[in-house]
C-alpha cells in the first residue's frame, strides 16, 4: 500500500513536466519541426562538452541569487518584480568601482561585490518605500524602477562611460584586469561566484527557518493584518525583505559584469529577473529547492540557442518550456486540491454533518 502511494506521488510530481513537454511537443509539431531532434539539440547544447557544462553552471549563479532573493520577498507576501532593475543597479555600482579604483585584484573584487550588493539593496528598498509610503502596488513600483534603471544604465554607457571610439549598445570598454573575476582554466565559469551562490542558499535557509526575522516574514506573508496586530513591525520587516532581495540581485549584477562580460552592457540584466521569478514560483519560495530548479532553467537557457543554429527554430522554445512547466505545476496542484475538496464534501455528505465554513485565502 505504502509503495503504491509513493509511486502515485512520484507520478503526480512528474505530471506537470510531462504536461509541459506535451505542450511544447504540440507546438513543435504545429510548426512542422521534429520534436525529438529539438529536445536532443537542447540537451546536447547544454551538456555535450565540459565547456558547455561550465556555461550551465555559470548561468545558474544569477538565477540562484535572484531566486533566493525572491523567495525571501515572496515569503513576506510581496511580488518583487523590480529584480531586473536591482541587477542593473548592482552592475552599475560594481562598474563604478571597477573603473575608478585601480587596486590589486582581491580588494577590487571584494569592493565590486560589496558595492553591487549595496546598489541592488538600495534599489530594492526603494521599491519597498514606494509600497509602504507611496501605496503603489509593488508590481508597478518595481516595473517603473526597472525602466528607470534601464534608462540610467543606457545614459551612463552613452555619456560618462562612453568608450573612446564612440558609444554603442555593446557597452563600455572592458574592465582593467583586476576587476575580472578569475575563471576556472579556460572555462567560462568563476568558482568564486558559484561558491557565493551556494553560500547564499544556506544562509537564506537558516534565516528563513531559524530566526525570528524569518518567522515574522512568514507571518506577514500568511496574513498581513493579523501579523501587524500581533506586533510584527511590518514596515521595517518589509523594507529589509526588499533590501535583502535587492542586495542579492545586485550581487548577481556585479557578478554578471565581472565574471561574464568583463564590462558594463545595456542588457546586463538580460531577463534574469523574470526568469528567477519563475524559479522562485516553482521552488515554492523555499531556497533549498532553488539551485536544482535554477540548474534546469540554466540548462534550457544554454542549450536552446542550438535550435537556432541547427534547426532554424527560434531559441525562445526554451522559454516556452520553462513557463509551461510552471503553469502546469499550478494547474496540477489546483486540480489535486479540487479533487481533495470534492472528496471531503462527499465524506461530509455521507456523514450527514453540516459542511464546515471554508477559509477564504
Amino acid at each position: 500500500m505504502k509503495i503504491t502511494s509513493k509511486l502515485k506521488n512520484v507520478l503526480l510530481s512528474l505530471a506537470p513536466i510531462l504536461l509541459a513537454l506535451l505542450f511544447t511537443t504540440l507546438i513543435l509539431v504545429a510548426v512542422g519541426a521534429p520534436p525529438g531532434e529539438a529536445y536532443l539539440n537542447i540537451l546536447s547544447g547544454a551538456f555535450e562538452s565540459p565547456e558547455k557544462i561550465a556555461d550551465v553552471v555559470a548561468a545558474c549563479v544569477p538565477l540562484i541569487l535572484c531566486g533566493v532573493g525572491m523567495s525571501i520577498t515572496f515569503t513576506a507576501g510581496q511580488w518583487n518584480v523590480g529584480v531586473e532593475g536591482q541587477i542593473i543597479l548592482g552592475a552599475i555600482f560594481a562598474t563604478w568601482v571597477a573603473r575608478n579604483l585601480l587596486w590589486p585584484q582581491v580588494p577590487v573584487l571584494a569592493l565590486m561585490l560589496l558595492a553591487g550588493t549595496l546598489g541592488g539593496a538600495l534599489w530594492g528598498a526603494l521599491a519597498g518605500l514606494l509600497k509602504v509610503y507611496g501605496k503603489v502596488h509593488e508590481i508597478f513600483g518595481g516595473l517603473g524602477l526597472n525602466y528607470v534603471a534601464q534608462g540610467l544604465a543606457i545614459w551612463l554607457i552613452f555619456n560618462p562611460w562612453k568608450p573612446a571610439d564612440g558609444a554603442t549598445m555593446s557597452g563600455t570598454d572592458p574592465f582593467p584586469d583586476p576587476a575580472w573575476m578569475p575563471r576556472l582554466g579556460n572555462l567560462r565559469v568563476a568558482p568564486l561566484a558559484v561558491i557565493l551562490a551556494l553560500a547564499v542558499v544556506a544562509i537564506a535557509c537558516f534565516l528563513l527557518r531559524g530566526t525570528r526575522w524569518g518567522l515574522e516574514l512568514k507571518a506577514m506573508g500568511k496574513h498581513f493584518r493579523s501579523a501587524f496586530m500581533l506586533g510584527v513591525p511590518s514596515t521595517p520587516r518589509l523594507l529589509t525583505a526588499f533590501a535583502a532581495c535587492g542586495g542579492l540581485a545586485g550581487l548577481a549584477g556585479a557578478i554578471r559584469c565581472s565574471a561574464r562580460y568583463g564590462r558594463m552592457i545595456p542588457e546586463i540584466s538580460g531577463g534574469q529577473g523574470y526568469l528567477a521569478l519563475l524559479v522562485a514560483l516553482l521552488a515554492g519560495y523555499r531556497p533549498q529547492w532553488v539551485p536544482l530548479i535554477a540548474l534546469f532553467f540554466a540548462a534550457v537557457g544554454v542549450g536552446s540557442p542550438r535550435l537556432e543554429l541547427n534547426m532554424h527554430l527560434d531559441s525562445s522554445l526554451g522559454g516556452v518550456l520553462e513557463a509551461s512547466v510552471v503553469l502546469a505545476v499550478m494547474l496540477v496542484n489546483g486540480w489535486r486540491a479540487l479533487l481533495a475538496r470534492r472528496q471531503a464534501r462527499q465524506d461530509v455528505g455521507a456523514g450527514l454533518v453540516p459542511a464546515p465554513e471554508e477559509e477564504v485565502a
Binding site: Y274, L281, A323, M330, G334
Partner: protein, 326 residues
C-alpha cells in the same frame, strides 16, 4: 505652434492609443468582475503575432482580428479556470502566462519577422470627418480606431446604465451579496474575464495590423504593463481609463517631438522610448500616495473631497479574491 500641427499630432495620438485603449478597457471589464488578468503584456504580444500571421497567410484582415480575439479570450479563460475553479493565485497565474505569451509569440512569430503584410484600410467617416478639428482628430482613421472609441462608450454605458452591468459591479464589489441575490458569481466572472480577454486580443491585432505593422522581436514592447497601470490610474472607470491612455499616447508623442529637437541630440533614443513608461507608473504614485492625502487635508473639505473623487478611484471590493460558494 500652428493649429495644423496640433491637429495632426492629436490625430496621431488618437490612432496610436488604440491598442492601449482596447487593452485597458478590456482589463477594466474583467477587473470590475473581480478578476485580475495580469497576463496583458504576453496576451497582447501573442495576439498581435497571431493576428498578423493569420492575416498574412489568409490575406484577410478580418480573420486576423478574429484569431487574435480567440487568443486573448483563450488566455483569459486559462486565468479564469486556474483562479476561479482551481483557486490558484490570480497574479501568479497571470505572470506565468505573461512569460509564456511573450516566449510563444517569439517562437511562433519567427517566420513572420519583418514581412510586409496586409493592414486595416483607412476609412474616414463621411461628413463627420469634415468637422473642423474634431473631424481629423477622431473621425479620419480606420475601423479599429473607431472600435476603440466605441468600446469606451459602450463599456461605460453597460457598467453604469444597465441591469446586467449592475450585476457585474455587484459580482466584483460584494460577491457574497450578489450571490445572496441569486447571481451566479463565478459564472459571470468567467464570462466577463473572457470578454475582457477578447478585447485584449483585439488590442494586440490592432497593433500589428494598424499601428506598427507586421511582427518583430519585442514588437509590442511593454504595452500590456502600461495598460494594467492605466486601469489603476483611471480608477476602474472607462472614461478615466481612456483619459489615462490618451495621456500616455500624448507623452509618447511629446517624446518623439523632443527627440527630433537638436537640443536633445546627445540623449540616446532608448531613453525617449522608455521614459513615458516610467512617468506613467510614477503617475500612479501621485494619485495613491499618503503625501497627496496630506496636501488634500490642507484644502477646504468639500473641495478636497471633489478633487479626491476626480483623481482617485477605489478598486472593486472583491478584486483578486476567490469567491467560494458553499
Amino acid at each position: 505652434m500652428d493649429t495644423n500641427f496640433l491637429v495632426r499630432t492629436l490625430s496621431s495620438v488618437v490612432a496610436a492609443s488604440t491598442p492601449v485603449i482596447l487593452a485597458s478597457i478590456g482589463e477594466t471589464i474583467s477587473e470590475k468582475s473581480g478578476v485580475i488578468n495580469l497576463s496583458l503584456d504576453g496576451s497582447i504580444a501573442l495576439s498581435a503575432m497571431m493576428g498578423f500571421a493569420v492575416a498574412f497567410t489568409t490575406g484577410s484582415v478580418a480573420l486576423g482580428f478574429l484569431a487574435a480575439m480567440a487568443v486573448g479570450a483563450l488566455i483569459a479563460l486559462t486565468i479564469a479556470f486556474a483562479s476561479i475553479t482551481l483557486r490558484q493565485e490570480q497574479v501568479a497565474v497571470g505572470f506565468v502566462l505573461t512569460m509564456l505569451g511573450l516566449e510563444l509569440a517569439d517562437f511562433l512569430g519567427n517566420p513572420f519577422v519583418r514581412k510586409p503584410g496586409p493592414s486595416v484600410p483607412h476609412m474616414p467617416i463621411p461628413y463627420l470627418a469634415k468637422i473642423p478639428i474634431l473631424g481629423p482628430v477622431f473621425f479620419d482613421h480606420n475601423l479599429i480606431v473607431y472600435l476603440s472609441l466605441l468600446s469606451i462608450v459602450v463599456t461605460w454605458w453597460w457598467i453604469s446604465r444597465t441591469q446586467p452591468g449592475l450585476k457585474l459591479q455587484g459580482v466584483g464589489e460584494r460577491p457574497e451579496s450578489a450571490f445572496a441575490r441569486g447571481v451566479n458569481v463565478n459564472r459571470l466572472r468567467y464570462v466577463y474575464t473572457v470578454i475582457g480577454g477578447a478585447l485584449v486580443g483585439l488590442a494586440g491585432a490592432s497593433y500589428s495590423l494598424s499601428i506598427k505593422l507586421g511582427w518583430s522581436h519585442r514588437h509590442t514592447f511593454g504595452i500590456g504593463w502600461i495598460a494594467l497601470a492605466i486601469v489603476i490610474f483611471g480608477g476602474w472607470s472607462p472614461w478615466r481609463v481612456a483619459a489615462g491612455s490618451y495621456l500616455f499616447g500624448l507623452l509618447k508623442a511629446l517624446g518623439s517631438i523632443l527627440q527630433r529637437n537638436p537640443a536633445f541630440a546627445a540623449v540616446p533614443t532608448q531613453i525617449f522610448s522608455s521614459a513615458p513608461f516610467a512617468l506613467m507608473i510614477f503617475a500612479l504614485l501621485l494619485v495613491s500616495s499618503e503625501g497627496v492625502d496630506r496636501l488634500l487635508a490642507l484644502l477646504p473639505t468639500r473641495l478636497a473631497r471633489t478633487i479626491d473623487r476626480i483623481i482617485r478611484g477605489r478598486s472593486p471590493g472583491g478584486l483578486g479574491k476567490p469567491f467560494v460558494q458553499e
